[in-house]
């Protein structure tokens, strides 16, 4: 695992061979126990990530098969969504799934609250935060079902041009 030669182009990522090689190097560096997959602990060994409130969510989204670990394929595919060549929809989908914790295709009030809670920590009290969440949901929710679908999410977030922002150089 983590051997770049075993993952040629057909990984259907947006990366070319060189980039995959570099990511493979990175992967092996992160993979402290050489298990071939990255656990949350291994992610948290990075000082930057330790201070990132959303690290848990990001790792969860990377971890597409839900086994709690990110293997090399998931790693590449996850990072691939942030490639310059990534499609807008892909990036939006990633952002959406950060909120959509139960992966049911909807952001519920509770999910939004939880994600925001991670982001505000103790800076904001729950009362105002809940108000905020309510307000957000009301504004976003076009069809009135009390939760936000991907389409509704795109309608608002789409014009933020996040496909231009959610780009990482590899």
């Amino acid at each position: 695992m983590g051997n770049e030669s075993s993952y040629p182009e057909e990984m259907c990522s947006h990366f070319d061979h060189e980039e995959i090689r570099r990511l493979g190097k990175r992967f092996r560096k992160l993979d402290l126990d050489h298990s071939g997959s990255l656990s949350v602990e291994e992610f948290l060994s990075l000082p930057g990530l330790q201070q990132n409130p959303l690290v848990q969510r990001v790792v969860d989204v990377f971890d597409t098969d839900g086994n709690g670990e990110v293997d090399f394929k998931e790693f590449i595919l996850g990072a691939s969504q942030f490639s310059v060549k990534g499609h807008e929809e892909e990036k939006l989908r990633f952002a959406f799934s950060i909120y959509d914790m139960d992966k049911d295709g909807y952001i519920s009030n509770g999910e939004l609250f939880q994600v925001l809670k991670m982001m505000v920590g103790n800076n904001l009290k729950d009362g105002p935060l809940q108000q905020l969440v309510d307000k957000t949901i009301i504004i976003l929710d076009r069809d009135g079902d009390g939760k936000i679908s991907f389409e509704e999410f795109c309608a608002v977030v789409g014009n933020l041009e996040i496909h231009k922002k959610l780009v990482v150089m590899v």
């Binding site: 996850g78 049911d104 509770g110 809670k117 982001m119 009290k125 905020l132 608002v156």
Partner: protein, 898 residues
């Protein structure tokens, strides 16, 4: 600074004033000394400043007149109007005085008119945007300007060689290069004037504008080098002179920037000690910035660069140090001065153009120059952009390039420089002057007029006027966090990495040195915003006569008054948001009083509240001050949370041991103990059950959400067939009846009542202010509600449960200490424990249990335990005072449970 403003126009007048000075007191020598004159006319004593003031007044009046018609100003940029006005005025002056007067003198321009504009733009420069695009800006400013200067100069020389320029224009290659260097620079004043009205998107604006500021160094160097070459004569120029010329580029630019930074440092340091003399704070800002400009000018460094860097560098610290009023004063004075200077510049430009003695026309030169500057600008932009786009994450597209090419406006700087030429050394000066005037007028008037339609036609992305909405604010923060995380994962350390290093340095040394201690006050700001939010609620409440919340107003969604605005219908609100927060009556009113204002406040709340992603620090610092402390604290908090989460899940799965400490809240613990004793054993054995949904919301993680969904649905079904009765009463009342009967009659739990106010409650400012806000809901009133809105209630209550009302954070610690005396606790006690009297919703245990028990399985318990550690002790200390601002305690009970 006022005297500076008054001095602005003095210089051009000195000539006129000086000759007449001796005749100031026209008195015949033989006259006896006059007695006390009742009235004396002393025009000459005040002439110069008087004229200056009159000119500025005239310009201001003209501005007012222009803006009387919205249509005109929306079509024609102000700068065009001012130039045209100048032309007219110049014509009048010429006709009346028979000689051209009141012209734009280079000395006046560089010493007095330019600095305020540059300071204004440097100080209010969006620093994050600027540094994000620094690479592009520097490329365009340095390479672009060099390219423009040389190509234009050489092409014009070629034009002359080809015989298209009349032979009377006596100029060699060096003269044309000199001319090219002064005509090639994009002018900050013109760009600012035009682009501020066009509102293109920020990136485009910052690139063009940043270029126009930073190219000053290049222009100055080129101009000086060429000028000295011309003066030396091309024959005498040695190879070493070229090298010196190149070296001077670095000296001038870096030197200018260094001077600016030194003064920025001094300025920041000085403002740190102005606590007792607040009144001079604005003055200091202007004086030191002006000193930076003059110092750089004195050392022949790039003065524009110096002031820009000074403004850019000092802002963060100065804003933190000076008082709020001083900040306003600085802002307005700066804007006023800049706008005043800009107005005068354009007007004087117009007036100066009238003086035909200064210029000589040559069509070939004029047309050739016009063509070449447009052509080479476009070509340069395209070439540079092509190179830059290889490195840029967000490439500049074709439309951007068109606007950038077309936005290369020339202005007063070029004019002032050309006037400065020495006619004896540059024989073609008059032709150059004429060409410069035409170029400036063409770019400002023609391009200024057409750029707006062009931008519209090309559908260039405009900048958004409105503040980002609540949603955008939230999502952008999320994206920044995501991006930071992915960057870390991928291991890419580029710009953000160095930015981070700089932040570290800034935090450790600079801010310590340059900011006063009292400037660290993130916490206060949040309270402050929250306080204001509440005050505003109170005001709107009073405005509405205060009766809205009484029985009639509140309860009947069917009442026309409430229904007039669809979204304020209580039912709607409840249904849509489906959460307890909506039961807060103030919120209902707030929503109605205007979502925009609410958004604005929320925006501030968010600004203060959200964790700052790494890459956002700088921007946040400049707009709303975020102390360095805050960051450190945040890092620690998030780190703790992450680590605890991991550690805890690890431990709980392994040994089922909990490691949270009860020392966190000694006072609360005491309470709990009492509760615990009272209810001991009643529910021992299955404590986690009722706590589950309570604490989950606060920190919940992935697994929670699934169960939430379940419980959600089960709850709704279940409640459909049952009525709800809820009782609301004033806290005071409850407090009195308190432990004895009051709560018992409503709810099985005897401990509804919040304990005496916490210390936080006493200290917090809004605490006292909140009392007037009491939401009065009589019990009769509320009883009506279920009839009208049963569905809404049911839904909201079910979601309440699933969401968990926030403040119940103490719960987890208890359940996780089985051997501890606190452990045994009646299920609902956590609900009543908080000291905060905000509306909290109490469900009888059976309800909670019932809701829980369906979705809950034995497997759930470990999960919940996993969640618990996440509530840091800070949570606990925070939440109770935090939520304390509502004085009323409302309970909801379902009759079925009684």
């Amino acid at each position: 600074m006022l005297h500076v403003a008054l001095l602005l126009l003095r210089l051009p007048l000195v000539g006129a004033g000086a000759t007449e000075e001796p005749t100031q007191e026209p008195r015949a020598p033989g006259d006896p000394p006059p007695g006390l004159a009742l009235f004396r006319w002393q025009w000459h004593e005040v002439e110069a400043p008087y004229l200056v003031a009159l000119w500025i007044l005239l310009a201001s009046l003209a501005k007012i007149v222009f803006h009387l018609s919205r249509k005109v100003t929306s079509l024609v940029p102000e700068s065009c109007l001012l130039i045209l006005l100048g032309l007219v005025l110049g014509g009048i002056v010429l006709a009346v005085a028979k000689k051209a007067e009141y012209q734009l003198e280079p000395g006046t321009f560089f010493l007095f008119l330019l600095p305020p504009i540059v300071l204004d733009s440097g100080y209010f420069m969006p620093s994050r945007l600027f540094f994000d695009n620094l690479g592009a800006i520097l490329t365009y400013a340095v390479v672009g300007t060099l390219w423009n200067a040389f190509t234009t100069g050489i092409a014009l020389w070629g034009l002359q060689q080809a015989g298209l320029v009349a032979p009377r224009v006596q100029a060699g290659l060096l003269d044309f290069l000199l001319f090219g260097s002064l005509i090639s620079a994009v002018d900050p004043v013109a760009v600012l004037a035009v682009f501020e009205e066009v509102h293109v998107n920020e990136t485009l604006f910052i690139i063009v504008f940043g270029e126009s500021l930073l190219n000053d160094a290049v222009t100055v160097v080129l101009y000086k080098v060429c000028n000295s070459f011309v003066e030396m004569g091309s024959a005498n120029v040695q190879a070493s002179d070229y090298l010196k010329g190149i070296a001077s580029l670095f000296v001038v630019s870096l030197g200018g920037a260094a001077v600016g930074l030194v003064f920025a440092f001094l300025l920041a340091l000085t403002t740190r000690f102005t606590k007792r003399v607040r009144i001079i704070e604005p003055l200091l800002v202007f004086l030191l910035a002006y000193a930076a400009y003059l110092t750089a000018e004195m050392a022949s460094l790039s003065a524009i660069l110096a002031v820009t860097m000074c403004g850019l560098g000092c802002k963060k610290y100065v804003e933190a140090n000076i008082s709020h009023k001083s900040r306003t004063a600085v802002k307005y004075t700066m804007k006023t001065l800049a706008s005043c200077a800009e107005t005068v510049i354009f007007m004087l430009l117009g007036i100066s153009a009238v003086d035909s003695s200064k210029w000589a026309w040559d069509s070939g030169l004029v047309l050739g120059t016009l063509f070449y500057i447009l052509f080479f600008r476009a070509l340069g932009v395209v070439l540079q952009t092509w190179v830059l786009n290889q490195f840029r994450l967000v490439p500049l597209d074709k439309i951007d390039q068109v606007v950038m090419s077309y936005g290369g406006l020339r202005g007063a700087v070029a004019f002032a420089l050309v006037i400065l030429l020495d006619r004896t050394k540059v024989p073609a000066k008059d032709y150059f002057v004429a060409t410069t005037i035409v170029v400036v007028f063409f770019t400002v008037i023609v391009q200024g007029l057409t750029i707006k339609p062009l931008v519209k036609w090309l559908k260039v992305k405009r900048s958004e006027h409105h503040k980002p909405t609540l949603n955008q604010e939230l999502h952008e923060h999320t994206f920044d966090h995501i991006l930071a995380a992915v960057e870390d994962v991928v291991g890419h350390h580029g710009y953000h990495y160095w930015r981070d290093r700089w932040e570290q340095f800034d935090k450790k040394y600079l801010s310590q040195l340059l900011m006063r201690r009292s400037a660290y006050r993130i916490r206060d700001q949040i309270w402050d915003v929250y306080y204001r939010l509440n005050i505003r609620d109170a005001i709107s409440f009073v405005d509405q006569g205060g009766h809205v919340l009484s029985s009639t107003g509140l309860t009947l969604p069917s009442m026309p008054s409430r229904n007039s605005v669809a979204e304020t219908s209580v039912t709607n609100l409840l249904r849509e948001s489906g959460s307890g927060a909506c039961l807060d009556l103030q919120v209902i009113d707030t929503v109605r009083s205007g979502r925009d204002r609410e958004d604005a406040v929320m925006h501030h709340l968010l600004c203060g509240g959200l964790y700052k992603p790494r890459r956002r620090y700088k921007a946040s610092c400049s707009r709303h001050f975020i102390s360095e402390d805050a960051r450190e604290r945040q890092d620690k908090e998030v780190f703790q949370q992450n680590m605890k989460r991991r550690l805890e899940s690890f431990k709980s799965t392994k040994h089922n041991i909990c490691f949270t400490k009860s020392k966190l809240r000694p006072r609360k613990a005491g309470h709990r103990k009492k509760d615990g004793v009272a209810n001991t054993e009643t529910t021992y054995g299955k404590p986690p059950r009722d706590l589950g949904f309570q604490d989950a919301a606060a920190v919940v993680l992935t697994m929670e959400s699934e169960e939430e969904e379940e419980s959600d649905s089960s709850e709704t079904e279940k409640e459909d067939d049952e009525g709800i009765i809820f009782v609301a009463r004033a806290t005071n009342e409850v407090l009195q009846e308190g432990k004895v009967s009051g709560s018992l009659e409503v709810c099985p739990s005897p401990r509804i009542i919040p304990p005496s106010p916490t210390c936080a409650e006493k200290e917090l400012p809004w605490k006292s202010g909140q009392r007037d806000l009491a939401v009065y809901v009589s019990s009769e009133t509320t009883k009506i509600v279920p009839v009208d809105m049963q569905k809404g209630w049911n839904q909201s209550i079910s979601s309440l449960e699933s969401l968990a009302s926030p403040p119940c954070t103490q719960a987890p610690t208890i359940t996780r200490l089985p051997p501890h005396p606190l452990v045994a606790e009646e299920p609902q006690t956590p609900l009543h424990q908080f000291s905060d009297p905000r509306p909290s919703f109490t469900f009888p245990p059976s309800l909670a249990k019932a809701g829980r028990s369906r979705s809950e399985s034995s497997a759930e318990i470990p999960q919940q335990q996993e969640l618990q550690p996440l509530m840091g002790h800070k949570d606990l200390t925070h939440l109770s005072p935090g939520a304390a601002n509502r004085r009323w305690h409302i309970q909801f009970n379902r009759s079925g449970q009684l």
